[in-house]
Symmetry: C2
Subunit: 258 residues, 2 copies
């Protein structure tokens, strides 16, 4: 399939899932992708790339790495791009093969579980935050927006090219959890106040729920503990990416060097 046709097709989740491919847009994200070990299938380049900062240099790097570069007109490019003012670079890459089996095996472990979180910006921001605090893996349960959606990729700022983020079922999570001795906690407005709880277990999975409805009943049923961040009565809730930031910071395994 021609790269332009392929990139257009990959705007649909079904196409991404069937082909195990996704699209990365923009100079900075492409640079980040090149620093990862993900496989790149090819790049679509429009004339305006040469006007972008580091654009010409990026084109050189792609060619030098033996990556197919297809030149298209600005209008053709726009038909495949999802950003409003595309920089003229779009790369098709393979969704990496990740699962519980490929998770690192450490004495201490932090996992983030996304339970039907639907806003791509929130999911991307949580992946970025998880990577920032040394989380070992991000597990997206059914009902969660596709991790390889262009808006998620953009909000994650390249974090899930490196970090271990993947989709899985609740059954797979529960099996891994019991086999590996992982405590399962969740963020819930009705939970124990964050200030009053001590250090969590060495191996911990922390679940965050949907923006409107919170954790699903199925996940809630399997939690060892639920945690709340106390807030003013004037405000109904925190944004889920903000909650995740506060809890992942509170439960981080060690202070990385700044």
């Amino acid at each position: 399939m021609k790269l332009l046709t392929l990139a257009r097709d990959l705007r649909r989740r079904k196409a991404r899932e069937r082909q195990h491919l996704f699209v990365v847009e923009g100079v900075r994200a492409t640079e980040e992708l090149l620093r990862s070990n993900l496989q790149i299938l090819g790049a679509l380049v429009a004339p305006q790339l040469l006007n972008a900062p580091r654009g010409a240099q990026l084109r050189e790097t792609l060619v030098r790495n033996g990556i197919e570069v297809a030149e298209v007109k600005e209008l053709e490019f726009a038909s495949a791009a999802e950003t409003e003012s595309p920089q003229g670079i779009l790369v098709v890459a393979e969704v990496p093969e990740r699962s519980f089996k490929t998770l690192p095996v450490d004495k201490q472990l932090r996992l983030v579980v996304l339970d039907a979180i639907q806003d791509p910006g929130n999911v991307g921001t949580i992946v970025r935050t998880a990577a920032a605090f040394g989380v070992h893996g991000v597990v997206a349960l059914p009902g969660t927006v596709d991790l390889w959606n262009a808006k998620v990729v953009r909000a994650a700022m390249g974090a899930h090219f490196h970090a271990h983020a993947f989709h899985a079922s609740l059954e797979e999570l529960l099996q891994y959890q019991s086999e590996s001795g992982v405590a399962f906690w969740g963020a819930d407005v009705g939970g124990d106040a964050l200030g009053g709880i001590g250090q969590p277990a060495d191996r911990l999975a922390l679940a965050f729920g949907n923006e409107g409805s919170g954790l699903t009943a199925a996940v809630r049923d399997h939690l060892d503990r639920s945690i709340a961040i106390p807030i003013s009565e004037q405000v109904e809730s925190l944004n889920v990416a903000v909650s995740a930031g506060i809890l992942l910071h509170a439960f981080r395994l060690s202070e990385p060097s700044s």
Copy 2:
């Protein structure tokens, strides 16, 4: 001016600033607005409102409160609304008169300073988080997106109808700061690590900078201290709303009841 024409006009920042008016969209946000002490000028209602949950009830409440309700066709409504699938309710309200003079005078004080933050979602989320942690005021410095932009209002989930958020110049902030004995700290990747610092002053203003370029030189020059949240070297930075969440939680004045 007809309400429909006015609502369309208020999509522009200049019009909002000149008329001291802004627009609120959707059932939930309008309900939140009615609970605040902000003045409502009138409401624009389209037929689909009656299909929305609590829609008919909301229309009743507006009428009962003596608020002018203008009925328009679905297409006319869409020409004024900024949301993609509008619920058929849009309210024009007065931007409240707020400044350093109207800030509450407490022995302990927390202010958030937005230094040229441009993403409406980030600004709205920070206002929501600030309200959740009992912050007394949010000061938007020049270069920051309009607090009364429809996307900011949506992301704040009604928080700045109640919370004291307003625009001001750096000179006004510095004058207030020196007159009121407020320490001025800022979030900066090169600052002191959060883990190593003790409790901040009773009266603290905490500044957050632009998504790409951080704090402006002018703000940096006036800081008493800068603070960094240590993160993994694999990630360049945290999202600014996530940083704000972590620092506002760390520096909150007291644990509100959950």
